[in-house]
Amino acid sequence: MSTTDKPGLSAEELAELSTEEAMIAGAEADDVFIVHRRERYPIPGTHAEKRAERTVAAMFVIAFLAAVGFIIVFCGAVPFQWHLPGQGSQNFRFFTPLLGGLLGLSLAAIGIGTVLWAKWLLPEEEVVQDRHDTGPAEADQILTSATLVQGFHDTGIGRRGLLKGTIGLAGGALGVLPLVYLVGAMIKKPNKGPGQSLFHTLWGKGVAVVDSEGNRVSPGDILPGGLMTVFPGVPGGVAAGDSPTLLIRLRPGQTVKARKGQAGFQWQDFVAFSKICTHAGCPASLYEQQTGRLLCPCHQSQFQVLEDAKPVFGPATRSLPKLPLGVELVDGTQYFVAKGDFPEAIGPAFWERP
């Protein structure tokens, strides 16, 4: 077994070879040995061979037709503009399926045709290749190691302590620099600046309670057992990530036991809790008014509103923060207002949170 860079054949010998023989010689020069090679159809022109060829050709014809069909559909044979049902042509509904179907058909046909071509019509071969995988020769390893070690020795890093120390310093500092650069450019101090505190939201004393359209909410807007997602009525209040608050009207007979120091947070039979789940920040929005359970659909944390939104199942650990709720009289109508911000950070917990 030998590796040869060039086939060991003279020009005259090469000239004597047929193409196939030269191909085999080339393979053997790379230690690739064709141990078995045979035409699939030893007798040319049999029915079986023609059938195979025609089947492959049929695949390519299908690929051609499907591609042409795709182009025709794409270029306007089927409209693609969306219309409401009953207003304008609904044929656009066929556009995407036709495109995908025809493209898939065309690609599948060309793919299957190609594979069949290889499997049915190319000569059958069994080829064995030498892996040359005995690992680097020991001599090679020693020579390479010696090159590395000697080169390292020549630099003198081992004995020139000053250079070793200083290049270490320079390399270390320069190595850290890109990280400092990137982090330094992107870093933001948490809880600093307006609207950037994890401990505070846009709610505050006297902030109006509004719905998602910005309209003020009054007690008459919610039936017993009902709820509404409300937001602080300040600029940006509806869009902010920590604003959403559930305003719940209890059913007659339902009571909520208040937490310590939060006795005045309820207004008559209305309670308001942060809607942001204390587990991972999804809006906990599925409320069962009969049982008073509130479910977060992301990870199935369940809160018992009647026990002051205490977590009763699932991965959440903290109760939903409660908003101190009050009303004010404007032009003879009662409207809800917040009597202050949430007394604690809303949403998922974090390191700095007590």
């Binding site: 060039k6 000239a15 047929s18 193409t19 030269a22 191909m23 393979a27 020069a29 790379d30 141990v35 090679r37 045979r38 693609f80 503009q81 995407t96 036709l98 495109l99 179907g101 493209l103 898939g104 065309s106 690609l107 793919g111 299957i112 045709g113 190609t114 594979v115 290889a118 000569p123 071969e125 069994e126 064995v128 290749q129 030498d130 892996r131 995988d133 992107m186 933001k188 505190s197 604003s243 809607k275 942001i276 587990h279 991972a280 920040g281 999804c282 992301c298 990870h299 944390s301 699932g314 991965p315 959440a316 650990t317 903290r318 998922p348 917990a349 974090f350 390191w351 700095e352 007590p354």
Partner: protein
Amino acid sequence: MTATVNHDGPTAPGPKRFDKPRTPAGKAGRWADERLGMSGSVRNQLNKVFPDHWSFMMGEIALYSFIILILTGTFLTFFFDASMAEVRYNGSYIPLDGVQMSRAYASTLHITFDVRGGLVMRQIHHWAALLFLASMTVHMFRVFFTGAFRKPRELNWLIGLGLITLGLVEGFAGYSLPDDLLSGTGLRIAEAIMQSIPVIGSWVAFLVFGGKFPGTEIIGRLYIVHVLLVPGILAGLIGAHMALLIKQKHTEFPGPGKTEATVTGERMYPTYGLKAGGFFFIVFAVCAALGGLAQINPVWLFGPYNPAQVSSGSQPDWYIGFLDGSTRLFPSWEIRVWHHTIPPLFWPTLVLPGILFTLAGAYPFIEAKLTKDRAKHNLLNRPRDVPVRTGLGAMAIAFYSVLLLSGGNDLIAKAFSISLNAMTWAGRIGLLVLPPLAYLVAYWTCLGLQRHDREVLEHGIETGIIKRLPNGEFIEVHQPLGPVDDHGHGQLSYGGTPVPKKMNKLGSPHGGRIKGFLWPVREKAEIEAELAALEAAEAERDRQRELTD
């Protein structure tokens, strides 16, 4: 090995004698070679031998879906606007007319409804992404169960693991870009996960989001991560994965004529290349057909992201599902020390995948250490021959499956009218109980299969022929696979290859490989030759018997 070519039959008269180029292609080739001098190495690669086994296709599917992702993704970048600036929608999709949304979401709607063929391209891209992750995962199983990760291929195992990890990041980033209600919910959870890191959590979240959630930065940042940073690293790692594969060559299953020092199969050019090229088109065809016929991620139905809204049955793409499941199952254990908090979210979303991926990465080294196996392996194991490894793999799959199913436990609860809380508890218990069970089942199955292989080698194949002995006893006639000793026991030893267990698996050097998809394809001449050989062998046996008698 001697250089012999075994012409079993005539080959077609190839092109004429070969000395100097006459065709334009030949002249172009010579022109290039006179400048690059690469004909030797090109020939080497053209003649590279690829072994053939269906399980080797998984990695190919992953490679091809990556190419499809690049092609379709490039198209999408021409229309997508990764901006969180608010606009009022006024495109073709009437139900969202006049709704406030980010430009990212509006441009996704634009691609969907106002770019000709945009929707099908988006859906092909999404399906190809699911396929990319799925094929990498199955490819990893294949490599694991057959022991292909053993020396000298540990590095490629690690690169592969890196590809899967980055694939998860890439998929999540792409999923988040449209800024719809579903993906925004995913980002909200991602932010909560970042916040949960002890000590630096809120710093990390503020750094990534450029302030408090949602901010105005994240879509633009994810965009460049999704279209440049991660795909660039992925392409580099795929290149390294392939380069190592070419250098180390493929593994193959043991069998007749297979050795550690050689690789057996078909040459890259023309046969294997043609097959692989065809297979690329087949993979693309599946993605295209799915992209056209199977709706995926209909963002227009979800609406723009809004922190106050969520829909029930919120699910991530399948490859994030196991993390969603672990998050649902993990109990509400919060650690509070000295006015600081480590939220429960930290453990199932960061610590658990960290442990899982570290274990997976360390596995080849752990196995080598425990088995003291320092040898190079180019021939694969049959999973049954390494019961402990197969058991561990089954254990990992069971663990992962419980997490994945729990990621959709609300949908399962709804579909089968089971209590959601019962599903959660079933997941919690199943996560602890099922993996060891899976280990035992796989381990004993392996032993049983091994035993059966030995049994057939010793006693032969059951022929289904019942014979009555003179003493009245009934026995089944067994066909020995090879020479037998005085007691009629087979003398063949197990060679790590499939043992034929049915009569019609006998008679072929390829372990009974029968050609033909619907019915066996056999050529008349071949059959006649085999019959003649059989008859000759029988005649020889009779002659031998006559001589010995």
